[in-house]
Symmetry: C2
Subunit: 210 residues, 2 copies
């Protein structure tokens, strides 16, 4: 047998074992919107600014008090929360269940990649807009700070498998989970409400990279 | 090294390889109710019988035209379909998402095990009833005919892992999937709408025991 290959395999097994002992907190994303300043103004009026409902784990971001309705000819969701601050593109993140209700077929994407995604009508207290694109299903991902990435021996854009609710009736492994490393991030596994409920995961629950 | 152990491991690997090549069709269960004759009569009236909406994969069972509303102080779902024929217990099968809407904490169970499960109000066109128990989240499971069980080398009550949507952004492995073997069954992996949407699985899609 090839001794180097065996060493490589053993070192890989050790790495996976070490990694799988460190918990990653889960963060469940309900459907939400990100808005440009222009779209925010059209929906909430010229004198308004997004206001803090509560901070979220990712530094600098916050759930806003401001909510909108989103609507297609086939369905509607009321009271969809904005995540602030404003950004330079408007993006609507929904789950596959939501997509079925709305009759849309959005791509599964990383945040920010909204080319060739469906549009939708957004309704606010001061007005409504029709965006031509921006509806996506967020691809499962983990945010790492550079320090966390070192600890887990993870590189930016690597994909991993994530074990949820081990030892329970809802035990699930999510494959193809994208790792994103940035000094703007805090350690967190982001999944949508379908994925959270399929695996009985709540925000803050520990999951494991296996 | 122990030669018998090695043989055992290799034979297990071979079995898993063979098994993982045979597709199992998925069957997605939306929230639904099973009703006793007595409860059916209370809800739909004394001269009514459950009527065929469409046959389902499991022999002898059918989706009915008859629908009910289910309600708690916290939430309500309208138009929940009955699966016929009537059986000797009333059971309400919902997803974890549904449970959150209804403010219930039902156990994750095999069909028929309804002891110590929450009750609910059921509303039909001819009357309403309050059942004391019967709300469950159905545990993921696979139905096998005895012939299929032989083909897959599966025993009744064994648990397996099921790979869904391999090679896609929604690739998921459901662990702890219960195998149920009976000559009344046809081969089918049953999962609920949370699980189906988390893994982008539709009824009829092939999944694999891995």
């Amino acid at each position: 047998m090839d001794e180097n290959l065996i060493k490589e395999i053993i070192s890989d097994i050790k790495l996976r074992e070490e990694r799988s002992k460190i918990p990653v907190p889960a963060g469940v994303s309900n459907r939400h919107v990100h808005l440009t300043e222009k779209d925010f103004t059209a929906l909430f009026g010229p004198s308004c600014k997004p206001t803090l409902y509560r901070k979220i784990v990712q530094p600098g971001f916050f759930a806003c008090n401001e909510k909108v309705d989103i609507e297609t000819p086939k369905g509607k969701f009321k009271g969809v929360r904005m995540i602030g601050p404003c950004r330079d593109y408007t993006q609507i993140e929904i789950s596959l269940s939501d997509a079925r209700v709305l009759g849309l077929n959005p791509p599964i994407r990383d945040s920010g990649k909204i080319e060739n995604s469906p549009g939708i009508k957004i309704i606010g207290p001061a007005g409504e807009i029709e965006v031509k694109k921006g509806v996506i299903i967020s691809k499962r991902h983990i945010h790492f700070s550079p320090q966390d990435a070192l600890k887990f021996k993870i590189k930016d854009q690597q994909t991993v498998r994530v074990l949820c609710s081990a030892g329970t009736d809802k035990e699930t492994i999510y494959e193809s989970v994208l790792c994103r490393v940035s000094d703007k991030y805090a350690l967190e596994f982001h999944l949508d409400t379908d994925e959270a409920n399929a695996a009985a995961v709540k925000t803050g629950d520990p999951v494991f990279i296996v």
